[in-house]
């Protein structure tokens, strides 16, 4: 699949000129409030006609000035910032609504209901639902519309972490198994990092950067845009085997690591997210630490407090105080050890 978006539109206060390609998987739309994310979603789903441009999904021209497919014909499932449930229908009827016209997903009903914890709500009307319950219903309804592309405008903002954690794997499955491409607007960096394969950064109606998530994460210029606490890189790792105490041995470009609570069989390739502020650097090989993973590496770049490290052909970021940079004499080419406190694992 591929989604190619290019449109221009003028609002009284803001001229939008947006262009990006979403190659598949999950594309995250990122940018400050009012930069045009929701407008982009509307243009793609056919709810707004841009002044000009061309929007193509899987070789189907959705819009190009002459052609302008109706929302019905675009097969794009939408989860809106405001849930937009039908107030006169029960939750069950809301969920069933698309099934008449989009039969493909109807049999998923039970699974979606269970997954989103909608069972006890089925007979209720949206008027009495809490904010999160409403959003869960809206997600379910969009999933059940058998979409060729799912666009979501801050879908999880109203959900608590445990509910988010429950829904995430389902979105991951959509991405990985059903290969349902998703365009995802969110302010939550962890969400985006976990889901996104491509990131589109927007600002004031323009796309300032678009590309694979990994590139953005290991780029000291772009990483801060995601928030310092979230800067970090994604590195690849292959599962090598399991230890008697349940830990998993993986191999990275920088050497072996031991991880906890990993599933997957030997040979599975994982993406490890290593946050810049969770790496400690040491010139000498340290011993006797509670941190199990110590990788030999070489500094490739020093940029403010962010040190870029080579790990084979991959890159990692470490956040280090200026004093440490001085004391440890870190500069491009310096060999050192990266003490990795913790990583989160994303399926590849």
């Amino acid at each position: 699949m591929s989604l190619s978006v290019a449109y221009r539109h003028a609002f009284p206060g803001l001229a939008l000129d947006v262009a990006f390609d979403a190659p598949g998987g999950v594309t995250a739309l990122f940018g400050p409030s009012g930069c045009g994310k929701s407008t982009t979603i509307s243009a793609i789903s056919g709810l707004m006609r841009p002044d000009a441009g061309r929007i193509v999904l899987n070789d189907r021209v959705l819009f190009d000035g002459r052609t302008n497919l109706s929302p019905q014909d675009r097969r794009i499932g939408c989860v809106f910032q405001d849930a937009r449930l039908f107030p006169h229908m029960t939750v069950a009827a809301n969920l069933r609504y698309p099934s008449r016209w989009r039969r493909g997903a109807a049999r998923e009903m039970d699974r979606v209901v269970e997954l989103l914890g909608l069972g006890p709500l089925l007979k209720r009307r949206p008027g009495t639902l809490s904010g999160g319950e409403r959003q869960r219903t809206a997600i379910g309804r969009a999933l059940l519309s058998d979409p060729a592309l799912l666009v979501m405008d801050e879908p999880l903002a109203a959900l608590d972490d445990s509910r988010k954690a429950e829904i995430m794997p389902w979105l991951e499955r959509l991405r990985d198994e059903v290969r349902l491409p998703i365009l995802y607007v969110s302010h939550s960096v962890p969400e985006v990092l976990r889901l996104a394969t491509t990131v589109v950064l927007m600002e004031k109606g323009r796309v300032t950067h678009a590309g694979p998530l990994t590139d953005i994460l290991s780029d000291p210029d772009l990483a801060p845009r995601l928030g310092t606490r979230e800067a970090g890189a994604l590195i690849r790792a292959r599962i090598e085997g399991r230890e008697p105490d349940g830990m998993t041995r993986v191999m990275t470009a920088g050497g072996p690591m031991l991880l906890q609570g990993i599933e997957g069989s030997v040979g599975t390739v994982l993406r490890l997210r290593v946050l810049a502020h969770e790496i400690i650097l040491s010139r000498d090989a340290p011993t006797g630490l509670s941190a199990l993973n110590i990788l030999p590496t070489t500094v490739t770049r020093v940029d403010g407090g962010l040190v870029q490290l080579a790990l084979g052909d991959e890159r990692m970021l470490a956040q280090v105080t200026p004093r440490s940079i001085e004391v440890l004499d870190l500069k491009p080419g310096t060999a050192c050890y990266a003490i990795v406190k913790s990583v989160s694992v994303l399926p590849s």
Partner: protein, 228 residues
């Protein structure tokens, strides 16, 4: 009942009910369509069209009745076209229903139009992204959402139809059993000295019927509200 009401009066009651119910129901689809056009479409002449819909309210009923007569009468341009198809309005209860429908039309349309204008188009948009065709959305989302407005419009229309008299009697005159509605009967009674008593009896019946309709509509509206 038959003691208290003469057979002719009883006939008038039944006829009025029939005429009003049918006028209201038969004009409802048209009222919905016109209300939708007025609420959602912008076109040159929009304002004039809206004015035209208000016309039966503005014109004295006698004039409306007369216009109906020369249009839908057997000799009128529309009436003479319809006659071969077996559709006759002149001197028939159908004509009374037509007159009632036209007289109540502006009221029904206005209420329903307000409903359409209050519907959040974002909900219809959402339905469109779920694959539902426009017409399906209209019937499954838009119409149910404006149910209270439709109910209000129907109630207004029915009440008006129950009270309509001027246009009806001018168009289809007053033939007992065929076109003599309650208001015609009441009017006739008021034309003779001392007829007030009998007239008031019919007025009471008319009021009870229309009040019942209002009560039912209030009840339906409340039910819809609490369910939502």
């Amino acid at each position: 009942m038959t003691h208290w009401l003469g057979p002719q009066e009883w006939q008038a009651v039944l006829l009025s009910l029939k005429v009003s119910v049918i006028a209201t129901l038969a004009s409802l689809p048209f009222a919905i369509a016109v209300a939708w056009v007025l609420a959602r479409k912008r076109f040159p002449g929009h304002g004039l069209f809206s004015g035209l819909v208000h016309l039966p309210l503005i014109l004295p009923p006698v004039v409306t009745g007369y216009l109906l007569l020369i249009t839908f009468g057997t000799k009128g341009p529309v009436g003479s076209l319809l006659q071969p198809l077996g559709i006759v309005f002149a001197f028939r209860w159908t004509g009374a229903a037509l007159a009632a429908a036209i007289m109540s039309f502006p009221l029904t349309v206005r209420a329903i139009r307000l409903g359409f204008e209050a519907v959040d188009p974002k909900l219809e948009d959402a339905a469109a992204t779920l694959g539902a065709p426009r017409i399906w959305i209209f019937f499954t989302v838009t119409l149910p959402l404006i149910f209270p407005a439709i109910l209000a419009g129907t109630t207004l229309g029915f009440a008006k139809a129950m009270g309509e008299f001027g246009a009806t009697i001018t168009f289809v005159s007053n033939i007992p059993g065929q076109t003599q509605t309650l208001p015609s009967a009441i009017y006739a009674l008021l034309q003779v000295p001392g007829g007030e008593g009998a007239a008031m009896r019919l007025v009471m019946i008319s009021v009870v019927i229309a009040m019942t309709a209002v009560l039912i509509s209030e009840w339906l509206a409340r039910r819809a509200r609490t369910a939502a």
